[in-house]
Symmetry: C2
Subunit: 483 residues, 2 copies
């Protein structure tokens, strides 16, 4: 599968090739891609036995035939490898014996006269350091979460803390805090002008962005390889997006990219390209059938890398576009997250023991006691979702809804494909887990196994990226006209 | 004990008071001292039950009457509190709404014209970020060591990796790589000149420095509170040293400190003062009788904070002077570390079960099979150390040495004070542990209990600091004359 994924993104280095010729600074970043892949793969392999021995292990709910424990928290060796590689990369990037050479790089962008050393790209170095700091603190916090199972209300603001250094450096870099007002409907621009400065609110937005990206990867989970796969697709899409700005003639007449823009995207690539390598190295072990699980450490780490690349590369709104499937998953989950529909502890699909076909898991509605106000919303919401083929409902003889498939993107894909699980039994209660799924009746509809479903999720993610490119480079020009 | 320790260092804020009046930037740093103390104390208290439940627990070898487990790795909540406080401190320090105000601070030291924002102290920010990055990566690596018990040969270079960002920022700050050649013997200066530029070798020196400070705190351990206590004394001594440079009239005629020097020491204080607060908050729980153990996490964290303050404050050679007791402990340990004398697994003193008096632990020599060359060195070394009252030997009837007290500072203090353990029995073999120490015969000499021994070690550390000040501000002037 990593080889397939590599093949999928083979155009990436090809796209970058002409840029490397003109921008030699790109070469070490690209060399880190295979280095990160192999180093991560070896690090994960080396840590498996120790993780098991130390009790970081779990059972795979969707493998009724494989009762053995799988090592958990393999995101930690992957993240540690990433940070280690980027640490070792610092001296090569910044420790020139004669820093005054750098003054020759008269880009005008990132140079300074600072006590001690002139010509040293101090701001670029602080960008790099603060990205590493934000990422490393996310890794530590994710690892603490894996060990101590931090409660949700404490967990929510964790990425906010980790993003603090990023905010300060964004400020130091003179980051914009303005957004362009849509050109339609017309009165908006008459009222607000073409550009509106959000000021401190913009900092709230970018700090929420890292919280969002961390937790949205965390909730689109449950089947082998999906946490890593989605991060690979998003990161690779961002790489493609950044590669488009790598014009060696940037700033000259005839080029659409300014030097500042190009250098910021070069910076983002130096975070994202090694990340792709690490994620693919981890995917080698995490893909179906998983030989490691990635744990919360991975979600915190991946979310923060993507947020750092977006914020410090000054394309945070574009970043959000590549999270369309995650946003969709979040919106779909809202009725369960806010108590309108009961939410069982596990919402992963269930597996039919003999055929290994997956079918959507269900939440039973009769035992639930939501407030009267919210339960009035329940029926119209669920029936709307059923009309959209995102959930499949069960009714009793009087026409009341007795159960619904769980409201996640993964279940919705199964419902959409036409998979129908066996009728839910009373024993299959709201907190029922995978092992009870060994019902006798096979699911009806197409037989979708775990690797197929993984492919469907990845396909959705890639479709989301294509949509994002369309919105960013075509629709944005329509909605936000320059004049 | 923390109150006693606070009392001990009460002169510190008093010394700083006149400086605060003239340097308002110092006030938030000093406010972090009590904040760090209370936050750490609460964080450690809150984590005790969870650490125990997750199996991070150990038995206290020196408390035969207390068989219950004590939570381990409490350095982690302390370090996390420290990093969190310093994270939250970043925006207050650097996120001014109008950074151009900073240009008014016409110190000439740390300002720049950098793409985007002019007047922003980019280099100072990268100093701060890289210090946090080095510290955070040390914490993560220490925590990994606590969980996975990394082997020594892999463990040794760990702090090197964590110090990489520090080296680059030292370079970016135009850090000196020269050392002054001693004025005596005279031919040295005739040969080498007054100042010699070590170039890259100097970077090797400062990266070794963080390795040294981490591991030297790690090996001067074994009795309650000693890992934290030594870090408090060293940090407080460095604070006193830095406070001496806080001249508000720095740079003007009549002041001995330059503005550059003052600002660097201000920076070091912003790392060291909160560290003192954290260490004292942890000591509250770690002092005799320990209700938590600190683990390797603490040693990695404390060593890296001290190394960062020294290197980024540009006083790395002075820093080394405050590690005199650690250097002494290391040199004393060398015969055991290099196999000249056998080295048992635990070298902590032993305890007499009924009186709780401590006596030095022993290494048996008869079972050892060192190489012929090294064993020739053994007798002269041990007898020299005995003559210096640092070890106490046992002989058989033929005059051969049968055992020696272990070669650590802590055992040496007991020997020096005149404590003699009961004669070693054959059962008390080289790998004997504390529980076998419940011998019938009480140790002879003065009765030294664990808190008394802690006091002796702290006294040694304070004496070391006084010696360091003497060397730095008197002897240095004699050995390294200006002309």
């Amino acid at each position: 599968m990593p080889s397939a994924a590599l093949l999928l993104w083979a155009p990436l280095p090809l796209l970058a090739l002409p840029a490397v010729a003109a921008l030699p600074g790109l070469a070490p970043t690209l060399l880190l891609l295979p280095a990160a892949f192999h180093a991560t793969s070896h690090a994960v392999a080396a840590c498996r036995a120790t993780l098991l021995a130390r009790g970081f292990a779990g059972r795979d709910l969707l493998k009724p035939h494989r009762p053995e424990l799988v090592p958990e928290s393999a995101g930690l060796p992957a993240a540690a490898t990433y940070v280690l590689l980027l640490f070792c990369f610092i001296p090569f990037k910044y420790a020139r014996s004669d820093v005054h050479d750098l003054e020759a790089r008269a880009d005008g962008a990132w140079q300074g006269q600072i006590g001690g050393r002139s010509g040293f790209p101090h701001h670029e170095l602080s960008l790099y350091l603060c990205a590493l700091l934000s990422i490393l603190s996310s890794v530590l916090l994710g690892w603490l979460d894996d060990i101590f199972d931090i409660r949700w209300r404490l967990k929510m603001p964790i990425p906010l803390v980790a993003s603090l250094p990023m905010l300060v450096v964004y400020h130091a870099g003179g980051g914009g805090t303005s957004v362009v007002v849509p050109g339609w409907p017309g009165f908006l621009r008459e009222l607000l002008g073409r550009v509106i400065d959000l000021g401190p609110l913009y900092y709230v937005f970018i700090s929420m962005l890292s919280t969002f990206s961390v937790h949205s990867i965390n909730i689109l989970a449950g089947i082998n390889g999906v946490e890593v796969g989605q991060a690979v697709v998003i990161a690779a899409s961002l790489c493609v997006n950044s590669a488009m700005y790598l014009d060696p003639r940037a700033g000259e007449p005839g080029s659409w990219a300014s030097k500042e823009l190009r250098d910021r995207h070069l910076f983002s690539l130096s975070l994202l390209v090694p990340f792709c390598g690490c994620a693919l190295g981890l995917l080698r072990w995490n893909r179906f059938p998983s030989r490691v699980f990635v744990g919360d450490t991975w979600c915190y780490f991946a979310g923060q890398v993507l947020a750092c690349a977006g914020v410090l590369g000054h394309f945070s709104k574009t970043l959000l576009l590549f999270f369309i499937p995650q946003v969709f998953n979040f919106l779909l989950s809202c009725p369960q997250l806010f108590g309108i529909v009961p939410c069982p502890r596990h919402r992963v699909p269930k597996v039919h023991a003999s055929s290994l076909a997956l079918y959507p898991s269900r939440a039973l509605l009769k035992d639930a006691k939501p407030s009267a106000k919210l339960s009035a919303l329940r029926r119209p919401i669920l029936e709307l979702l059923q009309a959209l083929r995102l959930v499949q409902l069960e009714y009793d003889k009087r026409g009341a809804i007795t159960s619904t498939t769980n409201l996640t993107l993964i279940n919705a894909l199964l419902v959409f494909a036409g998979v129908r699980g066996p009728p839910s039994l009373p024993a299959d209660s709201a907190d029922g887990e995978g092992k009870e799924a060994a019902a006798d009746a096979a699911p009806s509809g197409p037989r979708i196994t775990e690797p197929t479903l993984w492919g469907l999720v990845m396909g959705t993610q890639i479709a989301g990226s294509l949509l994002a490119f369309t919105v960013r480079y075509w629709l944005a020009g329509v909605v936000f006209p320059v004049q």
